[in-house]
Each structure stands twice: as C-alpha cells, then as structure tokens.
C-alpha cells in the first residue's frame, strides 16, 4: 500500500496507517512484550532471590548444626589444689612414617580420631577437657632449631593451639627437647659449640615470640622452661658442657628480655649425688620427664634393651624416687615438681624398628594411676605447688591423659579426683564431638 502512495494521497493516510507505516505499533508491541518479559524476569528474580535466601539460610542452619555437633562448647574450668601441668606433644598427623605418623600404628586411639596437631579445632577440645579436669598448664614440646629457616619444630603449637578459641584460658610453659644424643637422630649436631648456639638461638626466638604472652606460666615473674634429659646430657658430655648449655639458654632468654625459671629433667634411679651436683646447681627446680626403670632395674645382661614389668611396680618405684628427689631438691634449695606418668609402652615402635629399645609397663589402668596421683601429693613443693604429667598425648608410647577409645576419660577422672576441687553443682559433664545426644 505504501509503495503506491503519492504526495496527493497524503491527506488520506489515517493516523493508524502512519503508526503502522512508521512502525510505532510494532514498537509498541515490542515494548509491551519487553515489559511483560521484564516483569516476568523481575518476578523470577524475586523468586530466585527468595530461593537463594532460603537455601542460604538452610546452609547456614546446617553449618550451625555441624558446629553444634562438633565444636567444643566453652570450657567449664575447675579449680585445683595444685598447679597441674601436662607435657603436650605436637606433630600428630605428619607423614614421616615415624613418631607422629598414625600409619605406624598406636597402642591407644584418641576419641578425636587420628587428628592433626596443627588443627585449632583439636586444641579447642584438648584445652576444654584439660581445664575441666583440673589441668591448668600445657608444656608444648619444642625442638631446637636445626636450620636457619626460623623453624623450631613448634608449628603445631603456633598453627594449632595458638589459634584455639580457648587458648587464653590455659597456661603455657615451653618444653625444650633436643636430640644430639638420640640414636638415629636425623638432624644430628656436629659439635657442642654449634649445639649451644642453636640452644641460645632457639630460646631467643621462642622468647621473642612467646614469653610476653599473658598466659605464659611464670614463677617469680620468670617464664618457666622445662629442659629435657639434663642428666642424660651430663652423662654424655660432662659438667662443663651442662654449664655452657644452660648459660647459652639463659642468655638466649635474656636477649629476648626475660630471665627464665628452668625446671630440669634430672631425676633418675641412680642416686650418686656427686654426679648431679653441677647439673642441679644450674637449674631452678628438679623433675623428670619419666623414670622408666623406677620400678625395675634394667636387666644386667649386656646389650639387653628390653624392660618389661608391671605398671603397679612402676607406680611404687615413682613413690620411692619422688621421696628421694624431693628431699634432695630441698637440701639444695631447689624447687621440686613431682612427675606423674599414666603408663608407657613403645612396643609398636620397637617391633617396627623405629626404637632400638623397649620399655613396656603391663596393665596400666586409671585406678593405679589414681594411686600414683595420691602418692605425689605428699611431695608437693609448697612454693611451686605443682605436678607435671608425662603426657597429655604421647599416644605412640601409650602414655596419654587425653580421652581415648581404650579408657575414655578414665585417666582424666583419676587426675581430677586427686587434685581438683569439686564444684558445688558437681563436675562438668564430659562431652565429646558428635555425641548423638549432647
């Protein structure tokens, strides 16, 4: 029609025709369709937003459920009549096929499963359980620095426990472990001079990083530091080496701005006082990591590396040793920390060739450990008023306070009953992650 139109025909063209001709109507149609489409999309968007919101809230509900199921509730600490401290081992969950690698096999199995020490979630539960059973302090194991990378073997502490929600509620004292005379030590130290330097540097760095923390355990305003196997070190390297080592350690702490209170792993079944004179002089207090031959002497057969006997004898032996050493410390004006030990067996490590010695204490039980705790009370140093337990989680060596499949909270209850003060409303109920009925 339009192609036939001439100028004369203009007057006859209706408004509607123009609209059609100028595509106004199609445009209007297009707009109307677009508006419908827009409205439909807008409503779809609203719906979609609602759905997303519902899904997000469902997800957050599930996360909340997971958190309620798995995350440790706030601890309900109990007071204790003494400062109860436990050694704490990191490194679980590594893949070394050595200590700390679950694949090696363990005599005990934590209720938390085969956990990773660097996980703050694990530390949450550990701190909660410790505080609720009267343990106020952990002594995290720290290695000497063997490289220049600033690594001190304390990653588990710094990546895990330090980030626990409850970290500030537990006291911390560092525990320095070295290996120069450990058979098969893969990171051996060439000479003693290097060893002193490493010790100094390690303590300096640890001091810089941790001694100023509010929850560092102090005595006479000095951060406590436990030194492992000091009598072993004395046996190998002599009195002078002990002096130099401890001087280096004190210097390391001083250069980070702190005087340390050194608790030395000194107690042993051999009581030659002359042997211990210098090493005792160098420390502020005496204790033991453990005394594995406390209840039975190593067989006199040459090259025998196996010692197997009953845990009940071990407990009696501890009582004898504690009596002797508390008197010894008192005579020399040194502090004394009675050691406690819930058992020991490195049978699996020995059978697998990882350890070349075996100590197996038979039939350890929470009931006998309860006696050990009771025995120790008599020997508490009135000034320090402290016991030290080996260990919270030496799972490979079958010495663990932490709740396990094998004993539940049995060892923690024995300890709590001995040292903690029962609140008027009763002990806090034990809880574990994932309880079907919390």
């Amino acid at each position: 029609m339009a192609s036939a139109a001439g100028g004369a025909a203009l007057g006859a063209v209706s408004a509607e025709s123009y609209d059609q001709l100028y595509e106004i109507q199609p445009l209007n149609q297009e707009i109307s369709e677009l508006e419908k489409q827009k409205a439909s999309l807008a409503s779809k968007l609203t719906q979609s937003e609602d759905q997303t919101q519902r899904l997000e809230s469902r997800l957050s509900e599930l996360r909340q459920q997971r958190s309620e199921l798995l995350d440790a509730p706030e601890p309900v600490p109990v007071e204790a009549s003494a400062q109860v401290a436990a050694f704490y081992v990191f490194g679980w969950g590594n893949d070394s096929m050595n200590r700390g690698d679950w694949r090696v096999g363990t005599p005990l199995h934590p209720l938390l499963g085969r956990y990773h020490s660097n996980d703050p979630w694990v530390a949450d539960w550990h701190i909660k359980w410790a505080l609720e059973h009267g343990i106020g302090t952990f002594f995290p194991l720290t290695f000497l620095e063997f490289t220049d990378s600033g690594q001190s073997g304390i990653h588990g502490f710094e990546e895990g426990m330090l980030h626990s929600r409850f970290f500030d509620q537990v006291k911390i004292a560092l525990y320095l472990f070295w290996e120069p005379h450990w058979p098969g030590n893969p990171r051996g130290v060439a000479d003693l001079e290097t060893f002193y330097l490493l010790a100094q540097k390690t303590v300096h760095n640890l001091g810089n990083r941790h001694f100023a923390r509010r929850n560092i355990l102090k005595h006479e305003n000095r951060p406590m530091l436990f030194l492992w196997s000091l009598s072993g070190f004395r046996y190998r390297y002599g009195d002078d080496a002990v002096r130099q080592l401890i001087d280096a350690i004190r210097e390391g702490a001083r250069s980070s701005g702190f005087e340390v209170y050194i608790i030395g792993d000194i107690m042993g079944t051999w009581h030659g006082e002359e042997f211990y004179e210098v090493v005792t002089e160098q420390v502020d207090a005496i204790t033991a990591w453990n005394i594995l031959d406390a209840g039975s002497a190593w067989p006199s057969t040459p090259y025998t590396t196996e010692l197997v006997y009953g845990y009940d004898e071990y407990v009696k032996g501890y009582q004898r040793e504690t009596r002797f050493w508390s008197g010894y410390a008192k005579k020399r004006g040194k502090g004394f920390v009675p050691p406690l030990s819930p058992g020991f067996s490195n049978r699996i490590l020995y059978d697998k060739g990882i350890d070349n010695w075996l100590v197996e204490l038979k039939d350890s039980s929470p009931e006998i450990f309860r006696k050990m705790c009771g025995n120790a009370k008599e020997f508490l140093d009135p000034d320090l008023n402290m016991v030290l337990i080996e260990a919270w989680n030496e799972i490979h060596e079958s010495t663990a306070l932490e709740p396990t499949m094998e004993s539940g909270f049995g060892y923690l209850h024995a300890l709590r009953d001995a040292f903690a003060v029962k609140p008027s409303i009763g002990w806090p109920g034990d809880v574990i992650p994932g309880q079907l009925y919390p």
Binding site: A2, A5, G6, G7, L10, Y18, Y22, I24, L27, N28, E30, I31, L34, E35, Q37, K38, L41, K44, L45, S48, Q51, T52, L55, E56, R58, L59, L62, R63, Q65, L69, L70, G93, H109, L111, L112, G113, Y115, H116, D363, S365, E367, P403, T404, M405, E406, S407, G408, F409, G410, H413, G429, D430, V431, I432, P433, G434, Q435, L436, Y437, P438
Partner: protein, 452 residues
C-alpha cells in the same frame, strides 16, 4: 535513517520521492517530527527495556549459579552431618563362645523410673550421650559395637507387648539397619516385684502378662531368623525365677514356667526355658533346687544378689545395704558357678554363667528410687577380664553361651557399652577373652562425630 536502513524498511520520504518534499505542508512536517521523536522515544524505551532484561537475566543467572553452589553446599553438609552420626556397617568378629548381653530398651522414655529417666542421675555416661532407646541410630551403634567385640546376641527385657520398653524394642532396636545381624532373645519379666510396676501384685495379671507376651512373641518374634534358639527352640529367660518361687510359692513358679511354655506351644513353638535362678548363697539346697528348676531347660543368673560372703547390713532407714570390693564379688561369683554348673549338669540342664562388669545403685538408693543398695568397689577392667576368663570353664558345652549383665544398666553401674568413664575397655576385655582376632587385626573402634 540508519535505524530504518538497519531494519530494512523504507522511510515515508523515500517512498514519496525527493521531488515531493517541497510540497509537504508544514503541519504534516510537524506531525512527522512528532512521530519521529515518538519513535525515537519508543526505541530508547526498547533499548532500556532490553538492557533491563539483559541485566535481570544476568542477575538471575548469577543467582542460579549461586543457588547451584549453595545447593551443593547443602548436599555436602547434609551428607557430612549424616555421615558423622551414621554407623558404618559392622565388621563382626567370630568368637569361641557365644556371648549375649542383657540390654535395657527403656532409656529416655519415662519420668521417675530407673533405667528410663536419665535425670535421676547415673554413675556412668554413654559415649552416645543420654540417648533414647527408641532411636534406631542408637541401636545401629550398639549392634555394631557388640558384633565387633564378639557379642553376637542381645537379651531384651520384655514384660508385655504394650509396655514402654517393648515399644522401644520395636520402634528403635528392630528398625536398626543392622538388626538382622545380631541374634536376640527375650528376658521375660512379669514385673511382679518392681517398685512402681503398673501391674501390681495381682497373680492373674502376671499370668496374663506372660500369656500375652508369649502369644505375641510366637507370632512376631520367634519366626524371625535372628531370634536366638537352641536346637531349634527359641530361648526365653524368666527373670528372677527363684525369687518368684520364694515370694509366691514353688507351685506358682512352676505354673509360670508351664504357662509360658504352653502359650508358645499353642502357637507352634517349643521354647527353651532358661531360669534366672542363681542368686543367693543360701540357695544351695539341692532338693529345693531340684523341685524349683523342674520346668526349666537351663539355669543362669541375671546377677547375683549376695554371694560375696560379706553380709548385707540393715541401715538406719531399715534397708538392706551391701558394700564390698568387686574383686571379692568376682571370687564369689566363681564359687557360685562351681556349685550351680555342677548342679545343672547333674540335673541334665544347661548352664549359662553371667559376667557383670560391676554394680552400684547407691545413687538410686540416695534418690529413693531403690529401697536397697549394693555397691561393688573398684570394678576394674583387669578384674572383669579375670572374671570373663574364669567364666569360660563354666559355660555348658552344648549351649556354649556366656551372658553379660549388662550392656547398659547405667543406673546400676553395670555397663559394657562404651562410656565416658571407661571408653571401650570393658568391650575390649570381652573381645580379648572370647573373640578370635581376624588376620587383619581387630576392627578399628569408631564413634559418632569422628572428623578424623
């Protein structure tokens, strides 16, 4: 113009021809401009709408993606949550002797009653928490743990089908994913002397309870493949049988047994009747025992009341109380088994020794729930293991059965189920005594909530 070209249409002016333009009147021109600008407006509108639509579509697409991600998160979180509380299928271990454990199914189901109401307190707490027995998930874990530690049967308290514990058995235990993997039998208790029992002491009610129970069991429980039987006969244990005879007379006890047997027989079952018979040292009277045990096929004990040789005392409230070391009780149990296993053998009856991991109802006594108290001191796993080991020699060779009292008598301090206080130690003791270690080692112990 370009828009028109783009749309492939010709303009009005083009159609008129350039020569005609001069002739177009001003009004027309004005109208034409108005239309042009209207078209431009409309086109702008179209552009805006298209852009809005495209933006909306973009937002919807983004939300779709987000929804997909959140949905995946939900799916993952749901399955994680489920996995955290779901028991993996059991890995049963074989055992040289069949081990059956007495099992309470009333937890969390009633107020003020023992073995039902957690709020009364309990000396031990389950690793599962204070559960309710009608939850099949609880039964999943129980069955898994039992089978993986050499316990291959549960013996359930059963009074009558419409009572509370029995409902839990059906609604909880029997709905477990693993129920068919474990054997079960009934410990029939007609509740006659339980404080607070709803049936009173009416002997007619007691007889009725037994009849109804056996009718029901014959129709619904005995036919099940996993109902525990001996020589094809479903096993039924009569709770406190000797006590029943003592309280109501020997004839009444014999009637009870005959009533149970007859009720089953009427439905086509020849039951193997085991009496909870062994209880007190003063019962060593062969002639009385011969008479009372006449209707029974085998003798056993739920637990022993006072075999330690340490006498009970009347306390200031006039109630009987007994406190003695668990160790003494273990010795006493074994002395009793010596007598009773030999008595059963002479009578040509089966004998099933029971191993209790402890006993302490002092809390229930203090709460006024029980009017008697027995407390065994220091019930250690080591001593329990001695008991398990020693009980082996009293298990009658044909039945070849040992019972454990109990899986979960939490308020009587008699528990092998994993607890906060003892972990799996009592179950490990049972396993180490009776089960055979598979070549790959014992199944690894698992609990709900294991993230690692």
């Amino acid at each position: 113009m370009s828009e028109l070209v783009r749309t492939g249409r010709r303009s009005f002016f083009e159609q008129l021809g350039a020569a005609a333009i001069g002739a177009v009147p001003a009004a027309f021109m004005a109208r034409e401009f108005e239309r042009s600008s209207r078209i431009a407006g409309l086109k702008d509108n179209v552009t805006m709408l298209s852009s809005d639509i495209s933006s909306l579509q973009g937002q919807i697409n983004r939300l779709d993606y987000e929804k997909q991600e959140v949905s995946q998160g939900i799916e993952q979180a749901t399955s994680q949550l489920e996995a955290l509380s779901t028991a993996a299928p059991p890995r049963p271990v074989d055992s040289d002797i069949k081990v059956a454990a007495y099992h309470i199914t009333g937890w969390g189901t009633g107020k003020g009653f023992k073995s039902m109401d957690w709020s009364l307190g309990a000396p031990y707490t389950p690793l599962l928490g204070r559960y309710t027995s009608d939850d099949p998930r609880v039964a999943d874990w129980h069955i898994k743990w039992a089978l993986e530690h050499g316990i291959s049967a549960f013996l359930y308290f059963y009074s009558r089908p419409d009572f509370g514990w029995e409902r839990c058995l059906e609604q909880g235990v029997m709905k477990s994913r693993f129920f068919d993997s474990i054997d079960f039998a009934l410990l029939h208790c007609n509740d006659n002397f339980w404080p607070g029992n709803p049936f009173g002491m009416d002997p007619v009610q007691m007889d009725e309870a037994s009849k109804v129970t056996l009718d029901y069991a014959s129709m619904h429980l005995f036919p099940r493949r996993n109902y525990l039987s001996f020589e094809g006969r479903p096993i039924v244990i009569l709770f406190r049988y000797w006590d029943f005879a003592y309280r109501f007379g020997i004839e009444k006890a014999l009637f009870w047994a005959r009533n149970v047997r007859q009720s089953a027989e009427d439905r086509g079952y020849d039951v193997y009747l085991m009496g909870d018979f062994v209880g007190w040292t003063w019962q060593h009277d062969d002639s009385a025992n011969r008479l009372v045990s006449r209707e029974l096929d085998a003798l056993t004990a739920y637990n022993l009341g006072q075999p330690s040789g340490i006498p009970s005392k009347l306390d200031e409230k006039g109630n009987w109380t007994l406190v003695c070391p668990y160790e003494k009780m273990v010795e006493a149990y074994l002395r009793e088994y010596e007598y009773w296993s030999s008595f059963a053998k002479n009578m040509g009856k089966g004998f099933v020794p029971t191993v209790p991991p402890g006993f302490d109802n002092s809390l229930m006594y203090e709460m006024g729930v029980d009017n008697w108290m027995m407390r065994l001191l220091d019930p250690t796993v080591q001593r329990f293991k001695v008991m398990c080991e020693s009980a082996k020699r009293y298990a009658e060779e044909n039945l070849n059965l040992v019972s454990v009292e109990a899986w979960n008598e939490f308020q009587e301090g008699s528990v092998v189920e994993p607890s906060m206080e003892f972990g799996f130690s009592f179950l490990d003791a049972i396993r180490d005594t009776y089960a055979r270690m598979p070549t790959g080692g014992w199944p690894e112990e698992a609990i709900p909530g294991l993230v690692y």
